[in-house]
Symmetry: C2
Subunit: 253 residues, 2 copies
């Protein structure tokens, strides 16, 4: 009678190298761990391992910072070469103050440092990882490849850990999706009392990313993939870019 | 070998009335649905049913709007009596434009309409529900009462559905907690590569609220309670107010 959804964290995904076939490694891990893949599963993949498979690793000693990067680095107090990489990943700078560089990435995501990250790359300050080039495309490719390998129709969500403008701490959100509706939209439907809902539209793929993070834990590298099993959803091909609020609607415009 | 966490939605919680013993109704539902309560469970309760048990229902025809509420209602285009209730629940107005009234509630939460809601109350436009008076206290009381009734030591999270300043759609977050650490704090720890993490601090109670929402669905009244089972956490007594970022740190100050 109770509704039950499982969050299953895969613990035996090996370290990812450039060119790796992530879908194949997922299938192997699910077999090894006795979990398997089923149609209707939602496979959540940490953006970090996709970026690694894409070879999005950058050695800062090969980066020559632009004049603008040097100026900005003085304001934010970060390595000018790191700022250069962040600028290359960005459409524009939203906020630059001591310790903080908030940008809008080329994907349209507003986040700190364009998601450029030092953790779980090489243990060195001078090697960083950027976000995947096109997380929707990555999600789609993993989904198709999983179908090819298993015959199962799953959804794929690419997750990333992000801060929030008004709340402390970070949570995981969806930056790429395939085979799942982004929102559970209640607008225009009636609640249990017959009241017509006007604004309720749940960003379920973000909630799915957050649920997956609960089992991913430290650095999202030990457990970089989680499967959400038992959740009903509509299978639709949409872009995670629909989650990026257009600037004119921002709360603090 | 795979880590597994369950999200269990309780489907037989009856409609809540003022004065109801929510913990008792939860225990009865878990017995009826063959789920039970176990030590280490995290019980997520939709704020709405707590507000109902507290009698936080307001009939707008008994509300006399202040001058300020009338002025604001002209700007935002909402019922002046509703605006009056929102102001009574708030410390200050953050943004007021056509269709939008963003405030900081007395709990310190920045959200639309101070969380005052018409859905799942009475199916009428003129009866609304406010947020619980003190969601941390409510969480604590439910937790103690669950211990009294079952002998199990659980954590309790009070969840609420909220919009985000930069992302489309709403997700559930934690507005009250008891018996669980708010953050999984990695700052100062080393990642798998030996790199010392500087900023990673996951707001796990928000992620828990979002995970629970996945089974709660429409109006969070059909399934107003979910149990997260199998997730390890530190049992600590903290306030959900720690999630409210102080104004001087807001992204768009």
């Amino acid at each position: 009678m109770a509704k039950e959804v499982k969050i299953i964290g895969l613990e035996s995904i090996p370290e990812i190298k450039t060119g790796d076939d992530i879908a194949k490694l997922i299938v192997e891990a699910t077999e090894r761990e006795g979990v398997g893949i089923r149609s209707g599963d939602i496979v959540v993949v940490a953006s970090k391992i996709i970026a690694k498979a894409e070879g999005r690793v950058i050695y800062l000693d090969r980066v020559v910072p632009s004049k603008r990067a040097i100026e900005l680095s003085n304001i934010v107090g970060k390595d000018p070469r790191l700022v250069e990489i962040i600028l290359r990943e960005s459409r524009r700078v939203i906020k630059a103050t001591k310790g903080h560089l908030i940008v809008e990435t080329k994907h349209g995501i507003v986040c700190a440092n364009a998601g450029v990250d030092k953790s779980n790359v090489a243990g060195r300050e001078d090697i960083v990882l950027t976000l995947p080039i096109d997380p929707d495309r990555s999600a789609r490719e993993i989904r198709y490849r999983l179908y090819e390998l298993t015959g199962c129709d799953v959804a794929v969500v690419v997750s990333d850990t992000q801060g929030r403008p008004l709340r402390e701490g970070q949570i995981d959100v969806a930056i790429g999706v395939s085979g799942i509706n982004i929102f559970r939209d209640y607008r225009g439907t009636k609640d249990l009392k017959g009241y017509t809902l006007k604004i309720k539209r749940i960003a379920i793929v973000d909630e799915i990313a957050s649920a997956a993070e609960l089992v991913m834990g430290n650095g999202s590298e030990g457990v970089p993939v989680a499967i959400i099993r038992g959740l009903l959803f509509s299978s639709k091909e949409e872009s995670a870019k629909l989650l990026n609020m257009p600037k004119e609607r921002w709360l603090f415009k």
